[in-house]
């Protein structure tokens, strides 16, 4: 593995009394695709949001491209320009057209001129297969199209790292494929990607590594065929069996600290 692009050291995060992350260590190399899986409440989204400081960690360090994101004196806006983020709810700007969604951040943040921003916007819309929607408004697009525009918007900033926070969880099942195809293409081009997801097929086929989180810690970290195919930990096996075959799951009692919800 080359120099780590993302490096997380002893990361803790609490919301009040609720300890969501309890000591995370994780390194992601340049060009690596890492899928983070785990039950809801396991802290995986919080971990992702700590990487670009949308959540401020309680303790620990995060480095992206050699810069310490958690340094109180860091120019966080400059760091975030290098980190693209895709949200579960897309978060397109509804008052702007698709093209303006891509050009406004380039012009305001990167100070690109109008022509250059428009050219880069068009390139990235073509990249996600939505060149013909350039003048549409987000409300007129399907969820899958909105999410692809959101990916294009992040890519137009020229990021070195892309974070995906459950990018397909809000989509109708038949629209998931288009978004995953765009992400697969990105992975093939060598983008460093950290993906919080429930899409096991994507994790198995595209990820270089799969990280299983539960209760605010990393339980298992390894190649997809190991973690998904032959998990070593009971908690991982339990989670995967419920995920892959939900119809067979039994009703469980809530037992704290036992492969449960991550709540104390």
């Amino acid at each position: 593995m080359s120099r780590p692009e993302i490096s997380v050291r002893d990361l803790h995060k609490s919301f009040g009394d609720n300890q969501v992350l309890r000591g995370i260590d994780l390194e992601i190399g340049q060009g690596e695709v890492v899928c983070v899986i785990g039950p809801s409440g396991s802290g995986k989204s919080t971990l992702l949001r700590c990487v670009n400081l949308l959540e401020e960690p309680t303790k620990g360090q995060v480095f992206v491209g050699g810069t310490e994101v958690t340094d109180p004196d860091v120019d966080i806006d400059a760091v975030r320009r290098r980190i693209g983020m895709v949200f579960q709810q897309f978060n397109l700007f509804p008052h702007l057209s698709v093209t303006e969604n891509l050009t406004l951040p380039q012009r305001r943040v990167l100070k690109r001129d109008k022509a250059q921003a428009a050219r880069i916007a068009a390139e990235n819309l073509a990249r996600v297969g939505l060149a013909e929607k350039a003048d549409a408004y987000p409300a007129s697009l399907s969820g899958g199209q909105q999410q692809r525009v959101a990916i294009a918007r992040a890519l137009a900033m020229g990021p070195e790292v892309m974070l995906f926070d459950e990018p397909t969880s809000a989509l109708d099942p038949e629209l998931v494929g288009d978004v995953l195809a765009v992400m697969r293409g990105l992975a093939r081009e060598g983008m460093t990607m950290m993906v919080v997801t429930h899409e096991m097929t994507f994790a198995r086929e595209v990820a270089d590594r799969v990280v299983f989180m539960d209760g605010g810690v990393i339980v298992e970290d390894g190649r997809p065929d190991q973690v998904i195919g032959a998990p070593r930990h009971e908690r991982t096996r339990h989670f995967l069996s419920r995920l892959l075959d939900p119809a067979m799951a039994e009703v469980e009692e809530d037992v704290p600290d036992q492969g449960g919800t991550g709540r104390p």
Binding site: D77, I83, H95, V109, R153, A154
Partner: protein, 277 residues
Amino acid sequence: MADTDTGVQPKRTGLTRTQKRRISRGAQYAVLVAAVIAFAVSADWGRLQNQFAQPAIAKQLFPELITVALKNTVLYTLSGFVVGLALGMVIALMRLSSVGPYRWLAGIYIEIFRGLPALLIFIFVGVGVPLAFPDVQYPGGTYGKVAVALGLVSAAYMAETIRAGIQAVPKGQTEAARSLGFSPARAMVSIVLPQAFRIILPPLTNELVLLFKDSSLVLFLGVTLEQRELSKFGNDLASQTANSTPILVAGLCYLLITIPLSLVVRRMEAKSLREIR
């Protein structure tokens, strides 16, 4: 034997629902029509017309009614609205600030200026401030004074409206902007405020309607003939002519502006209901 039959319908008692509704509505209309007729018959229309609707006197009001009075009403209102909007924006942002003292100051301002009658604020601005700061001149004379007074009043209401609008924009919008590298201020200006203003356009327009009426308080500031607005103008000419026709005409002028504005608001509200995302 037929009594034990389970197929028997329960016996109908009294009126059907449709009949009841028809009777109740008929009664309401009857009362309404009776009230209107009683009003029309008992009022002395001749005297009313004599006092309030004399075409000859109404004619005398022109063209000053439009060129001076209506023009000034519009001018006072719009300048007050602009000042109020700018000040209201600052106060709304202070109210949402993470800095405690800003929040408290904004809260105090809103409570005081929303709680006081506009008339008291006009007197304070027109009399109190010149007494306290004898060297300070309002820019634009009376016009500046009115803009400040109306602005102070409306800013308190508009601040609350703007704050609600900002809070109605989903948090994900700010997060998306920040993740793209926008600074907090730029995210507010480029992403949040444009959406917030779309949401609060109807209540802001309502505020404009209220300001139109509040602009009549200018009369307590002491204005010259050229600075008179509709209410003062109507009132003055009513005393001159010893007849109330000017007041009726001035009132119609207000409606000429406020009713179309209300219609615009209603249309905007209907439109935003249809556009729910």
